[in-house]
């Protein structure tokens, strides 16, 4: 065997062994990097409540710092539909890179020791002409369809909640406010469907 042939054979063998080691390494590492970052619903609450406070039309300006004006809230709820409410407050929070849709439920909640009272609630969503929102208070009642929903007893404690789909993410932002002379929680429930 010529000397050059021996050297080239060594090179080929070394290359094959190198390839084998490389493929073994990647085989053992497979799956470790398979999961990417999960979509996360990060909405800063200061911005959200700041947005709710800034309403150009005085008649609908129901939130003034930490006070909720019931007359203006009623007017707002009567005149607005979910799509308009969405465009009014929440369009800036769209995130189509991570989510296909985001729905909102704005509600006032009184917390007693033994019950949860939803005092008022209004929905905000986009492109749902059938008003088939993903937010619901119970499977029967959807956010925004009733002005007042009352739940008594700790066993029946219910919240507005998002669809139970494995693709849905939900976050509730809370701000204590003064409403009709009592301190209640102004809450914004955000339901998002992941891509």
């Amino acid at each position: 065997m010529a000397k050059s042939q021996v050297i080239s054979m060594d090179f080929i063998m070394a290359f094959v062994i190198y390839l084998f080691a490389l493929s073994f390494f990647f085989f053992s590492m497979q799956g470790i990097l398979a999961t990417g970052a999960s979509a996360s619903l990060d909405v800063p609450s200061e911005l959200m409540f700041g947005k709710l406070e800034i309403v150009e039309n005085e008649d609908y300006d129901f939130l003034d710092s930490s006070k909720v004006d019931d007359a203006k809230l009623t007017k707002f709820m009567e005149d607005f539909n979910p799509r308009k409410t969405y465009d009014f407050f929440f369009v800036d929070f769209e995130d189509f890179r991570q989510f296909t849709r985001i729905d909102y439920c704005v509600y006032l909640e009184r917390i007693n020791e033994n019950s949860t009272d939803i005092l008022r609630n209004v929905a905000a969503s986009k492109d749902h002409p059938s008003q088939d929102y993903s937010i619901m208070v119970t499977p029967e009642f959807k956010c925004g369809q009733q002005e007042k929903m009352l739940y008594q007893g700790i066993a029946n404690k219910e919240y507005p909640r998002c669809s139970p789909s494995s693709k849905s993410e939900s976050v509730v932002l809370t701000k204590p406010v003064l409403y009709k002379g009592e301190i209640v929680n102004l809450k914004v429930l955000i339901c998002a469907e992941k891509r």
Partner: protein
């Protein structure tokens, strides 16, 4: 003279073969040990990563309050034998725990949680061979679907109807048939 030379060559062959065998076997032994150790280290790192994802999300969702919910996509390594949530007897410390099969036998790892945890679908821990840590408090062991190898959709949901008041409920909501 010719016979002696042949014998010498044969002896050299034997020496070279035994030397290379010694090096090869020694190398293989060290490589095997190193590979097993690395496997355990990789497993430990992956468990730490999975736990960190779950516990960070749990803390965030807990402070948002009910009904906040998030679904995490995590890949469970294949060596997990059981997964459990440990609450100390005094109910002021909470841990997420795993029992895994390492090269040195079964080993348990626990990760401290800042917020109370509960498992949505639990089973009696004795059916999965009661993790040792369970003797230090109250254990909730998950069903196999939570920790079997592969990608999991782990639901992290805030609730205030837990046995200790407010807590985070961990569930697994992967579709049964994809």
């Amino acid at each position: 003279m010719k016979k002696r030379c042949r014998a010498q060559i044969a002896m050299e062959y034997i020496l070279i073969a035994s030397l290379s065998l010694m090096i090869l076997l020694g190398g293989a032994y060290f490589f095997r040990n190193y590979a097993l150790e690395s496997n355990d280290m990789v497993l430990q790192k992956r468990l730490g990563d999975v736990s960190n994802q779950i516990l960070t999300k749990a803390r965030k969702i807990y402070y948002y309050g009910p009904p906040s919910k998030s679904v995490l996509n995590v890949e469970m390594p294949p060596q997990i034998d059981s997964m459990f949530v440990l609450t100390t007897a005094s109910q002021d410390e909470y841990h997420l725990g795993f029992r895994v099969l390492t090269s040195a036998g079964p080993k348990e790892f626990i990760f401290e949680s800042d917020v109370p945890l509960e498992i949505e679908e639990t089973i009696d821990c004795t059916t999965v061979g009661s993790p040792d840590y369970c003797s230090q408090g109250i254990c909730g062991c998950t069903i196999e679907r939570y920790y079997s190898a592969g990608i999991k959709n782990l639901k992290v949901e805030a609730s205030d109807s837990c046995s200790m008041g407010s807590c985070i409920i961990i569930g697994e909501i992967s579709p049964l048939i994809e």
